[in-house]
Subunit: 443 residues, 2 copies
Amino acid sequence: MKFPSAGGRHLNPDPASSVCVTNLMRGMGVAARAAAPKIRLAGADTRTAAIAAMARAIRAGAEPILAANRVDMLAGAEAGLSPSMLDRLFLDATRLAGIAAALDDIAALPDPLGPAPLGTELARWSRPNGLDIARVAVPIGVIGIIFEARPNVVADAAALCLRAGNCAILRAGSEAFATATAIHAALRSALRDTGLPEAAIGLVPITDRAAVGEMLTGLDGALDLLIPRGGKSLVERVQKEARIAVLSHLEGICHTYIHRAADREMAVRIALNAKMRRTGLCGATECLLIDQDCADELLPAIAAALLAAGCELRGDAWACEIVPAMIPARPEDWGHEFLAPILAIRVVDDLDSAMDHIARFGSAHTECIVTENQEAAARFLAEVDSAIVLHNASTQFADGGEFGMGAEIGIATGRLHARGPVGARELTTFKYVLRGTGQIRPG
Amino acid sequence: MKFPSAGGRHLNPDPASSVCVTNLMRGMGVAARAAAPKIRLAGADTRTAAIAAMARAIRAGAEPILAANRVDMLAGAEAGLSPSMLDRLFLDATRLAGIAAALDDIAALPDPLGPAPLGTELARWSRPNGLDIARVAVPIGVIGIIFEARPNVVADAAALCLRAGNCAILRAGSEAFATATAIHAALRSALRDTGLPEAAIGLVPITDRAAVGEMLTGLDGALDLLIPRGGKSLVERVQKEARIAVLSHLEGICHTYIHRAADREMAVRIALNAKMRRTGLCGATECLLIDQDCADELLPAIAAALLAAGCELRGDAWACEIVPAMIPARPEDWGHEFLAPILAIRVVDDLDSAMDHIARFGSAHTECIVTENQEAAARFLAEVDSAIVLHNASTQFADGGEFGMGAEIGIATGRLHARGPVGARELTTFKYVLRGTGQIRPG
């Protein structure tokens, strides 16, 4: 149970009132479920208009949103939030303009359901009895999004859900509660102005942790999917406790493997970018593997570039021998997500050893091979069973925008429904439409 | 805890040995996980050869399989299994030939991964920076299948998982344990003969219910998906307690809606077939809705056909007034899965009332509209949010074979990953393969 100080405008029920939280949350579920057919059947143009109206409402509501953010920032500083947490929470005019611009981008995305109430045909075929079968795209339904400090998630997630014809129930961390509430008010006004039900995008109006517990059980059937957005402990809790489907990634323990036939200059360039462009991204490389055949020649150049960029290198015994400036890696450095300028480095025997290391220590997120040998590349791409595998390109491309998907709601490392960047298309599912002329089934 | 008498050849650990069950099950998980890359990368021809070899092994092993089935049948009769349960359990030469023939059918299905180790390309595009992005089909991985009495599930499920490049861990109900063990021995010999690891298709060698509990938690990450095959209580338990992804349907509460513009003869024909062709199928219609505008004229003919076929009719007040031979429906008859020659019948105001009834009482499985009015049909097909919606065709077409998918492992009524019949294609997922020429991500 948490009693946040931010704003004091939201309910803080005591532990005895868990029935009250259950009722509140289920009520939100019923409202979202009732709104779902209207969003699903609205057609692409209406959804586009609503998302564009959201962008305008955010711009028009800048003043109350920034004021609410100051409340959260003050409360966060008082509560002793870390500088990086406060930075994630912070909004100014520029960042808010960025949020509105992202909504415009999502409004411009192709609608995965298409213009008509009946979704885009994904496949269509006929049976010998004349039955016509079509697989058509439909929204998933009502999506629960549990996030922490980043206020932009309210707008991004809501718009992306809407783009794919879904409703959303958002639960903000207590740190971002005032800001999220202000942004949500703008989104609601946009829905109202477009003639769509406001309940299509709900924000949980309390910070009580029991609300998360309710969402994990699916709100009595009202939620079809949960997406956690935040730190490892949040994602871990959702993955562990959710009784409904979850799309998420817990960790991005990404590997870059320098094969013996790597182009020297390319290997240095990719290793540097994969690790250091942004060390906090889930697609940042956390471990570099390098073939023993080329380690003597190549590792010093790679290490020099990384050290010059301020990266700490933790090598196995062999790597430390080649580059004495490395720190000896501890066993727990393999398979560790540093999210920092720290890189684990291991010298491997060959392609098979590299793939064994990845299978053992990776998180099935993103792995890269750098090589000019097409056969080795083909084996790596086929055999490494991660959501994203790359040949001769930086792991930092693990991003929906870089894939050309426009916005993404996250990266999925599970195996069902969607893997890799989750965009609007991945927020849809399908149904079968069968058109007959009176066919009955014989036998 | 259950101590089945069948055969006496399997372990019956006492409750104190739950650590032993955990170790056994996790060992099976580790073995299947280790086998998974070999199955995944084997290529279509090898998988086809293995499935064809399974069919041959079943035929060659008919004698021990039928002997084992006699053991199960005797134990089942002693234990007082219902006649329908005993019928599901029973095998003779004809039924066993049917199991082998089904394997031949699955061997002939197109392989959803394609011939090469790298799966079939589902999509491929290029980015302005020259990065080439492909979405390729890959297997889900290791699939857990929990079933009850039908021994054919061992062969069907194993072969369908293999067709899509997956491994499987099967858990048979104690009723079918001896038969399942004998069939499994044949499947293993076929894997061995094809040079594939036997652990690719595991059968839990105990009937202890704790084994199911272990599978529900995913065997420490070894299981990617659970598929329950059996009665409602089994599916309900799996849906409620599983901590990993599940593809299943709990109930098929299917509706046939006779719109006022229905063709009279077609309405009678479809209603009769949808209910009575096989009443025990999940695609059998359980509730008939009929427009008030045509009920006076049409319902007597529909009722007469159903009554003549031996169907009990439970109508609302209006329907009973039109057809006095009907029994008044009780509230619990709406949304009830009879799986028997019993049909609930309600007279509705119009299309909207019919769709409201379906949204409230249906199980999102399969619903049909019978009408000559294209506009009404279009609305029904778009607005009814079930896995399968039909216009002018029997709900009994809800079947992978009838869809042209060859074999199916079941029907999914959840919303994620797959809906409707689950065939080989639905037992795959995808990954992204990015091919570059040294691209690094700017910014």
